[in-house]
Symmetry: none
Subunit: 415 residues, 2 copies
Amino acid sequence: MPQTVRAEVITIGDEILFGQIIDTNTQWISTELTTLGIRTIRKTSVGDTTDVILDALREAAARADVIIITGGLGPTKDDITKKTLCQYFGVGMVRNQQALDLVTSFFEKRGREMTDLNREQADLPENAEYIQNDWGTAPGMWFDEADTVYISLPGVPFEMKSLMTNRMLPKLKNRFDLPVIRHKMIRTIGVGESFLAEKIEAWEDALPPHIRLAYLPSFGQVKLRLTASGADNEQLGRELDAEVAKIMPLIEANVYGFDGDEIENVVIKLLKEKNLVLGVAESCTGGQVAATLTKVPGVSAVFAGGVVAYSNEVKHIALGVNPDTLAEFGAVSEPTVCEMAEGVRVMLGTDVGIATSGVAGPDGGTPDKPVGTVWIACATDYGTVAKLLKLGQYREQNITLTTNYVLELLRQQLK
Amino acid sequence: MPQTVRAEVITIGDEILFGQIIDTNTQWISTELTTLGIRTIRKTSVGDTTDVILDALREAAARADVIIITGGLGPTKDDITKKTLCQYFGVGMVRNQQALDLVTSFFEKRGREMTDLNREQADLPENAEYIQNDWGTAPGMWFDEADTVYISLPGVPFEMKSLMTNRMLPKLKNRFDLPVIRHKMIRTIGVGESFLAEKIEAWEDALPPHIRLAYLPSFGQVKLRLTASGADNEQLGRELDAEVAKIMPLIEANVYGFDGDEIENVVIKLLKEKNLVLGVAESCTGGQVAATLTKVPGVSAVFAGGVVAYSNEVKHIALGVNPDTLAEFGAVSEPTVCEMAEGVRVMLGTDVGIATSGVAGPDGGTPDKPVGTVWIACATDYGTVAKLLKLGQYREQNITLTTNYVLELLRQQLK
């Protein structure tokens, strides 16, 4: 019977507290721990202050089986993690010959002179197990005291990740009898979190206790994350697949992908399968649809390019939109967005054309076309479909929402 | 005599603990608090579990004057912040009419159906001061209990930032007698952090103790942030201006703006002053230059549009690049990028044209044009200038760097 192992991550450093840098270490660490079957129950960031670090350690020790500490191992005055750990464990500091040799060779290799501060990097708390860091001068440390494992790592992401991947994670795997954790992500678009929740309420309530559900909403999308924990990897996989099979009929129309599939990757994959080339005509999204697609490596096989037709002149010159259409219906209208989608197909000679035209805001709204009024269209050999979106008041949000929705419209047409 | 106000930030949500998403909220929040003169002493992330949240609140209350809680306010089962706050304060839940009206109109505007779960979003702990959220359906909440201020915010970054900026930060400013903190940001581009540090070393060493300097590097830019603290707002302003006057001669060539000026805002301002209209021709940036410009409201006055010429065909059809040029020099070359910049001027009839063409990676590199080889150009009535960039291995980074550098090239030409 595997243990439930709980971990806490403590990040040390003023630069994180004051918002100087974004801490990406803890996100990476908890992802790795989750994959290993260790449950992160808390993350804490504290400054370079002894008392605060001691408090954080004591509190964490009362709750967690594994405590991972990053930062505060550099050679400068404000790096106090090691001294603080000595105080916490009530032990002295000893110089570690293996660590000293490593630091020495590190400096010799780079032809740099070594200072006493550098030598002190080889000093460790007496009760520390020295874990060699081949990627920098700060040592990794492992403590196993009173059934709690303490891991101390440098804050430099590259050194931290290398030490974790190559040294600490394997040691944790041996130290504990861990459960298996599996995730399954179902990606939906165009349906609200609460509406979705009502649709799947009965299914959600019937989930077995070892499978948990989380809703992750962002810009018109809601990701449903299933987390299953147990002993048998295969069985968990089968159980997750069974739950997905049960829920799909309820939400199928809004599901665009699973796990790591972003909407842009899904449409690019569909275009490749069908051997179609896409062209994009953008007004209110101003290039973001094209930019989102071209973030994906290898997109050039199915994406010829696009036109950002911000002014009406460009809509006419570069997309062939009829000036009478613009005059009669305006730029934000079904006829215009359809002519844009069809125009980009003709102008760039692509198989498929998608288009956006709307009032992104904050200005430009009218009583009949308020800010957030957006038309999107998709033109193929089978004809042109357009859709009206009623979005909010915020420019950047409207641009991102429109980008997601026009890619979803394209996906619907390609299916 | 101003108070020292200490804040703690508590982030609620399994998705952060499990590493599903990177928490950028707390970094943003502590930056804003620092600006206000409030010192963040600890950040904590906990899961969607009542007991753990209660512990975190009690611990924080023992140390901090301000506790900012983000997340767990959505309409679904795993959002338990409000219930937990009721338990923490020992109060009941009441439906807030103002909040209900807001949620109702939010759904009416979007023509979406409202559910009981949505109505429940208007339920607040009895002792909460309702803070209107105009950016979403989750309410903001302010509690002032036993000399501690508790602020509850939604986890969606856009809603959180809007609520903080427009509602909570002003309230905090009134609630406490804070020291005066003034910032001055000097924005540089195209020069490395260490190179910059050497140029300004003497100036930096001579800074008075109450003025601190921070280097904030990002994608080819380095922002120098000066933070002055004291009692007299006017005097701090004069001192900061004096320091800027001293440093400018050392770095002038690389300074594109101050404080909130992004490079795109600076070039748009210059275009408006000179009454010029811009067109953009993008290959490797795939639309990001246009998208970056169109994020700025009112850009349509100086931005006609652009062409994302991903394939060589589109470079010829839509930009008039000579097929012989493409055949002889290739797409990633000075002649091609110049013809693109000149072509977009002609095709879209704009005053100025800028263009990008390069190997973004990960594939497509050759011995003489490795990944990271990028040409940028700017064409005006005074002629066309091109520049070769040698960037790194990473696609998204190369796209963002190229976007910044081509906007800087445009700025240089407009000056």
